[in-house]
């Protein structure tokens, strides 16, 4: 697989479709990542991977406004790259399967599960994480609202909740408590801070839409 091919695929898909990226011949390796823990795969005789698969891929993107360029294992998730290579540990790993939302970040302004986004998909795109949300010491209205409504306990899902909450408002999905509940149901909070989260998003929406 070459970089050019990767770029073509991303261009075709707006950079966000995992399925289409897999067309590039990486399905085998990616499956072994996604399927880790499933017993049948663990026991199957996996053929040796094509050498090309191990080639690092040059990826350049903007992270919280700063340009960055990395040579990445094409299997790397955006989440692992943020956490392990860029030191941005605000996005959290809660499931690694797109089930919990703790890793929610913005890619070109849209909320995505960073664990389900291959890092190579964000080539040439804008990535914003919780660390890039405040303007210096001035908190984003959503961050302030989470404090005001005590919309957190352990704080582990909180960065993802806040990034999802900001997107929820921008999408126009914060029109009522019921709508917020529906559009925030991809972000699990095991401490059960949901009532506070809904109140915080309602509050922040008023400020954001000023």
């Amino acid at each position: 697989m070459t970089m050019n091919h990767e770029k073509e695929v991303i261009a075709d898909t707006g950079g966000l479709s995992r399925r289409d990226v897999l067309k590039g011949g990486t399905a085998l390796g990616v499956l072994s990542v996604a399927g880790f823990g499933t017993q049948s795969l663990a026991q199957a005789a996996v053929p040796s991977l094509p050498m090309a698969f191990r080639t690092e891929v040059e990826v350049a993107f903007r992270i919280n406004g700063a340009q960055t360029a990395l040579a990445l294992d094409p299997r790397s998730s955006l989440l692992d790259v943020l956490r392990d290579q860029l030191g941005l540990t605000g996005a959290k790993k809660g499931c690694d399967h797109g089930q919990c939302g703790a890793c929610t970040v913005h890619v070109d302004g849209r909320r995505v599960a960073a664990c389900m986004t291959l890092a190579v998909q964000v080539d040439d795109l804008d990535v914003t994480t919780i660390e890039g949300l405040a303007e210096g010491d001035v908190l984003h209205p959503m961050q302030q609202a989470f404090i005001d409504h005590d919309a957190l306990q352990c704080g582990y899902c909180t960065p993802g909740q806040i990034m999802a909450g900001v997107a929820c408002v921008r999408e126009g999905h914060a029109g009522s408590p019921q709508q917020i509940r529906e559009y925030m149901s991809g972000n699990l909070c095991r401490c059960g801070a949901y009532p506070g989260i809904v109140a915080a998003i309602e509050d922040a929406a008023r400020v954001m839409e000023g």
Binding site: E131, C154, L188
Partner: protein, 736 residues
């Protein structure tokens, strides 16, 4: 409520948490890090015959593959409730024994996580399989009477009066059996370790409720001096009991790091947490209640089957809770442990009290209908000031007040008790249910250190863990009020073993242990200032008082123990052991209480259940931090909703393992599942249980939610559900 003793303080760690700045255990990434990933057993039980690691080791980036052949220098872990530090006795990868499906059998270490995960898939493993029992109904499951089980801390059955005779003679009876599937804690933060050595000194970053236990436990397994181990767990991304002891990966991360001479990080994937960590055990409970026609209970019989593993006897304390609900003149329990081939079960929020309340309080609702009596009135008639088991008085018991205030807030008087009698505008059936819950008021030995500087800044170091419950905010609030200093001047540090010892934080004894110790430290500080010649009655600012001693700062340490405990018991927590006391103390018994009022809406044709409204009243003693207590209470009710309507592990009886072993298939509540939750607090201190008046909150908030929902569903539909989780088909089956 508006008249709290302590002021509303903003959660002290909220600012960092909303900025993503709080560092959790596996957020740490020392240089030269090696990543670990487990391969897990694909058989239900047996042993590993061989593991061919050649293909894995040949993958570029693989550093090492560790199997049981490499770990002979390690000592096996010991069960927390068997005198050790770990969630079970069995240590994966230390022998060829496979005790259950999904148990780790090899650890791959690689330069990147991607390579490590990939390499686990190319290990060639052969096994010798053995028959096994993964469920309590399996013929190979082994029941044993708990009273006869060889447990380190034996549990007797309870017998008060002649309960069988009293039951037989009762005028109105209920005889019902309740079942509950295994449930999993699923804190959002995965279990994981970052281990690094510097010479012979080991540093562990791990989200754990028991940094002290991890320190002494890993030292024991490695055969090193515990003084050389530092465990760092200042913030935990939720524990809920699953992180209350040493987990499988800890010693292996430390061992691998020592072998490789490089830091090692292992994050245990979610699916593996369903297979190699604790769960709330499956239970089967039979409740027999008998009452006079006036509603007074005359006798109760309570039988429990609780799942355990074949590795350890996990103590089932359901009866100790059941016996405290009411003033039964006669009560008898019989508990069996059902040994199965799963990881040893453990403590999940309200570990026994959730299941017990479900059974007892569902049966009470059945009794109320048989008596044609309001369920609140039935509960009030059977309230008691005396513990029937010990004969001792309850130190405080505001059950009646919780019921009365809750009923008023909820609007209970609007309820028509006839099933299927109330409807929402959209045609949904409306049901309203009530239930109480209770939890032991426990406490234990704890140390606290306070440092006051002449610039007015105060540092606290206390033996407790912050897992989201808000203990940092609570102790800050207490110290602020006690020393008359602003909360912003206080910095509290917990969960790090390089300071004061860090005992297990669980069982709702965290604040009830840490706050008395913190108050004692405040007193010790004032005493030390007085002894240094400072006039402490002169209302000087604290910093000024410190300055007048001539020193730059003043540091004191203090400790506290639970009523009836000797000071020597501090030696136990100083060495990582568990040493709580309660609920039975010399001269009294202490419990926290809850009364939950639930409204459900049931869609008639599909049986879909919504919970638009819950009102809950709590008697937890003194409320230390109104804001975080409120959040904790709301969270507990959310747990109750999940534990009733959503959560159940589907164990595969044929092959072992949990079939719905992730958080898309094992359902925990999402935002759309939750409506209005309105908690209230009695806020009456209980100064018998400790000097701070705290009985504990984190568990009782969940206890009793399940039966309140189930009773509401009965009211809505006329269908009595006795198996959890409540699935829609239970409401769609033709009723006998």
């Amino acid at each position: 409520m508006s008249r709290n003793f302590y002021p509303e303080l903003v959660r002290v760690d909220a600012l960092d948490k909303v900025r993503g700045a709080t560092k959790f255990g596996t957020d740490n990434r020392p240089d030269n890090l090696v990543h670990g990933a487990f391969a897990v057993a694909t058989i239900g039980k047996g042993r590993v015959i061989s593991i061919d690691t050649a293909a894995a080791e040949a993958l570029p980036g693989v550093v090492s593959v560790i199997t049981h052949r490499n770990t002979t220098s390690l000592k096996p872990a010991q069960f927390l409730m068997g005198g050790g530090f770990a969630f079970q006795t069995h240590s994966p990868l230390l022998t060829d024994h496979v005790a259950y499906r999904g148990q780790p059998i090899a650890l791959v270490l690689a330069e990147t996580l991607e390579v490590a995960i990939d390499a686990t898939a190319v290990l060639q493993v052969s096994y010798e399989e053995q028959p096994f029992a993964a469920t309590i109904d399996n013929p190979l499951a082994e029941p044993i009477a708990q009273a006869e089980a060889p447990m380190r801390y034996p549990l007797e059955d309870i017998s008060v009066g002649d309960a069988p005779a009293a039951y037989e003679g009762g005028a109105v009876k209920v005889d019902s059996t309740f079942t509950m599937e295994r449930q999993f804690q699923n804190p959002m933060e995965l279990i994981g370790t970052v281990a690094a050595w510097e010479g012979d000194r080991l540093t562990i970053h791990e989200g754990t409720q028991n940094a002290g236990g991890c320190k002494f436990g890993v030292a024991d397994q490695l055969g090193i001096n515990p003084d050389n181990v530092t465990v760092i767990s200042p913030f935990i991304g939720g524990g809920f009991g699953q992180k209350n002891s040493m987990q499988s990966q800890l010693v292996l991360a430390a061992f691998a790091s020592r072998e490789l001479g490089r830091p090692v990080k292992i994050v245990v994937p979610r699916r593996q947490l369903f297979h190699d960590a604790t769960s709330r055990p499956a239970t089967r409970q039979r409740v027999r209640l008998a009452a006079n026609r006036d509603g007074r209970l005359v006798g109760a019989l309570y039988d429990v089957d609780a799942q355990t593993s074949k590795l350890d006897f996990f103590p089932a304390e359901h009866a100790d809770t059941a016996a405290r609900f009411y003033g039964y003149p006669a009560f008898k329990s019989f508990t069996r442990l059902i040994r199965t081939d799963i990881p040893t079960p453990g403590y999940m929020r309200a570990p026994f009290e959730h299941a017990t309340a479900f059974a007892i309080e569902s049966a009470m609702d059945e009794l109320a209908y048989k008596l044609d009596m309001d369920p609140i009135e039935l509960r009030l008639r059977n309230d008691t000031a005396v513990d029937v088991v010990s004969g001792l008085p309850h130190s405080s018991r505001h059950v009646a007040e919780c019921l009365r205030r809750g009923a008023e807030t909820f609007g209970w008087s609007r309820r028509d008790p006839t099933p299927r009698s109330m409807f929402a505008p959209n045609g949904d059936l409306i049901g309203m249910g009530v239930a109480i819950g209770l939890y032991s008021g426990s406490g234990g030995p704890t140390r606290a250190r306070i440092t006051a500087r002449r610039d007015g800044a105060v540092s606290l170091n206390v033996g407790v863990h912050e897992m989201g419950q808000g203990v940092l905010t609570a102790i800050t609030n207490v110290v602020s009020k006690r020393l008359g200093i602003p909360a912003s001047a206080i910095t509290a540090t917990v969960g790090v073993t390089s300071g004061v010892p860090q005992p297990l934080t669980a069982g709702s004894w965290g604040s009830a242990s840490a706050v008395p110790a913190t108050e004692a430290a405040c007193d010790a500080l004032m005493k030390a200032l007085a002894e240094a010649g400072v006039d402490i009655s002169a209302s000087l600012p604290l910093g000024e008082m410190v300055a007048r001693t001539g020193a730059g700062q003043m540091q004191v340490e203090a400790s506290s123990v639970a009523p009836g405990q000797e000071l020597q018991v501090l030696g136990r927590t100083d060495t990582g052991r568990v040493a709580p006391a309660g609920p039975v103390y010399p001269g009294f018994v202490a419990f926290s209480y809850a009364a939950h009022f639930v409204e459900v809406h049931v869609e008639g044709s599909t049986g879909r259940i919504r919970v638009p409204r819950v009102v809950s009243m709590f008697d937890c003693g003194r409320v230390l931090s109104p804001r975080t207590a409120r959040s904790q209470a709301i969270g507990g009710v959310v747990w109750g909703i999940g534990g009733t309507l959503r959560e159940g592990a589907e164990t595969d009886a044929r092959y072992g393992g949990v079939m719905n072993g992730d958080i898309a298939e094992y359902l925990i509540p999402v935002n759309a599942d939750i409506g209005s939750i309105e908690p209230g607090f009695i806020d009456e201190p209980d100064f018998q249980v400790n000097r701070s008046g705290v009985k504990g909150l984190g568990e009782v908030v969940m206890a009793g939610v399940a039966p309140a929902i189930i009773n509401a569903v009965y009211h809505a539909t006329g269908i009595r559900v006795r198996d959890l989780p409540l699935r829609l088909e239970a409401l769609l089956k033709p009723q006998a």
